[in-house]
């Protein structure tokens, strides 16, 4: 059951913590003086401007593009953008201008219609994702009761767009990228859903204000963290790890970016794109990463709550901070890790992530039964958190050992010999 979120917010129009309060005050006032109907237009305008200001401009362009380039630059011991504007702050704008003025080439033998439509289809879901993300107690565009499933559904659409892009260009590298992304999407969807199921099992059905929480609604997951003073990540650490890996696979972020693997297949599905068509893919890649981060911040990191701090600090600020904290993980892995091979990625999804996700569901379902039999005692959830963290680490390590992970057996230093000679079999270098 979804709680009417109106009950949460403070009732005073001068409460400035939440942008929705201000807009509500404006709309209430407008409703009294203006003719009927205009208030809807006004609401739409306010919603559009607010969402644009909060999300699109600062996050997407500046903290997304600029932040990624700057942080990757620091990781790689260089400066990053520092020419356009102070500290290179205007670099994303310069990039966009450059891309807009470039010619968007289309190969002669390509499937023109599909190639033209693919970037458009790629952009749509990235914007749609944010419809269900709660930025604050009242700042959610569509508080649908199945918003978690909505996210899952939307995030399966860009795969189609990337496939269209890769296939339509009639380029062998693009086709490789398309094949890889299709194979990977099927593999990684499964553990992703399984991991999120763990979080849903924890939160749904918990008592809240005389009613029960709906674990499929994102707002209710945030309320759960507020009610029990703990984030879902502490109860479900394994789920967050699996979610992070699967999402970075679906988003083509670096440890798993086999669909556009630069060193192997040039740029994968983007090989033949240029100009703003390419720019849409590039920008919306970051948009998706931010969307996935926002989702993770909502589900796992407690959304707009911060242990009571949200009473004084605007909740949407807390939320955006958490989003970018999670987004930093994407940047960090991108700057650090090499890329897996496609067959290794498949094997990793099926052999490693899926069993762990199933184990996680089993674990959390057991705890859920105990919890409901104990009448949802608040203290018990902390016990579960401690148990789950320990069990998760043990499970990951144990399962890795079971699958043949033996770091101590893999030498990382070569053998050393004093004198030149022929072939020296392993083990016989000691007596040289």
């Amino acid at each position: 059951m979804s709680i009417p979120v109106l009950a949460l917010a403070t009732d005073h129009w001068y409460d400035l913590r939440d942008l929705a309060n201000i807009s509500d005050a404006i709309l209430d006032g407008a409703d009294k003086v203006l003719p009927f109907g205009i208030v809807y237009v006004l609401a739409a305008l306010i919603g559009f401007v607010a969402s644009f200001l909060i999300f699109v401009l600062p996050s997407q362009l500046y903290l997304g593009v600029y932040g990624e380039r700057k942080i990757i630059g620091r990781i790689q011991s260089r400066y990053g953008p520092n020419r356009v504007g102070p500290f290179g702050l205007l670099q994303p704008i310069a990039d966009a201008v450059k891309l807009l003025t470039k010619e968007a080439l289309t190969p002669k033998e390509s499937d023109r219609a599909v190639m033209y439509v693919a970037p458009i289809i790629f952009v749509m879901p990235a914007v749609l994702i944010f419809a269900v993300i709660p930025f604050g107690p009242r700042m959610v565009f569509a508080n649908v009761p199945v918003s978690l499933l909505y996210f899952m559904a939307i995030s399966s659409l860009p795969v189609i767009a990337t496939f269209m892009a890769g296939w339509s260009a009639n380029n062998k590298y693009s086709l490789f990228g398309a094949m890889r992304i299709v194979a990977m999407a099927i593999s990684y969807e499964v553990p992703l859903v399984m991991a999120l199921l763990g979080a849903v099992v924890v939160t749904s059905g918990a008592p809240y204000a005389g009613d029960f929480l709906n674990g499929l609604a994102l707002q209710d997951m945030v309320l759960w963290s507020r009610e029990f003073h703990i984030w879902v990540v502490f109860v479900q650490p394994l789920a967050l790890v699996i979610y992070f890996i699967c999402v970075s696979a679906e988003l083509n972020r670096t440890p798993t970016d086999i669909a556009e693997a630069e060193s192997e297949i040039v740029a994968g599905y983007l090989t033949e794109y240029s100009g703003m068509k390419w720019g849409l893919f590039y920008g919306m890649d970051i948009g998706y990463a931010l969307g996935a981060s926002a989702f993770a911040a909502t589900v796992f990191l407690g959304g707009w709550t911060f242990f009571g701090l949200e009473k004084w600090v605007p909740p949407w600020m807390i939320f955006i901070g958490k989003t970018h904290l999670f987004y930093f993980l994407f940047i960090w892995t991108r700057g650090t890790l090499p890329r897996l091979r496609s067959d290794q990625l498949m094997a990793f999804a099926w052999k490693f992530l899926l069993p762990l996700a199933l184990f996680n569901i089993f674990l959390v379902a057991t705890e859920r039964m105990i919890w409901s039999s104990q009448d949802y005692a608040k203290g018990l959830i902390y016990v579960f958190a401690v148990v789950n963290i320990a069990v998760s680490i043990a499970a990951v390590y144990g399962w890795a050992r079971f699958l043949g992970y033996r770091p101590e057996n893999t030498p990382v230093r070569p053998r050393l010999v004093k004198n030149a000679g022929g072939y020296i079999p392993v083990g016989s270098e000691a007596n040289r």
Binding site: V114, V159, E189
Partner: protein, 171 residues
Amino acid sequence: MDGGGIVFAFYVLAAVTLISAAGVLVSRDLLHAVLFLILTFVGVAGLFVLLSADFIAMAQVIIYVGAIAVLILFAVLLTPRAGRNNGETKFALPGILLAVCLAAVFLFVIHDVAWTTNDEAPVLGADQLGEALLTTWVLPFEIASVLLTAALVGAIMLARTPQEEAEDALA
């Protein structure tokens, strides 16, 4: 179901669904047909939302668009020499005639029957669905899980190459 918004939404979604379903029929390129099929699935999901079946709509997109359509794309890619040709067999004309006749029958029945309907949408959320699946329909639910497992194993067995089978036999 009144209201300009709903009427508009219904006609748009119905048009998307039907036009793209017709696109599957007429497109010459198999990949284009798959893309039209995906659009049809999305349109049907929109109709589900109109019918206040949120959960089913999301499941439709996740499973049909995210899994089945992607599987079909994969199968098309794995059979390259069969061509991307989406042509008709020699039995096309009788088949399409049959479909048209069936459509005529359906439409006649639908518009002839005096339906007794309730205008209040019943409250049907994910929780009711889960309860129904695990109480009244628990046996079909379990059978469905067995079916999925069998299909998984069967698909793997079917799609293996003889070399892989030989390797497994050795192992």
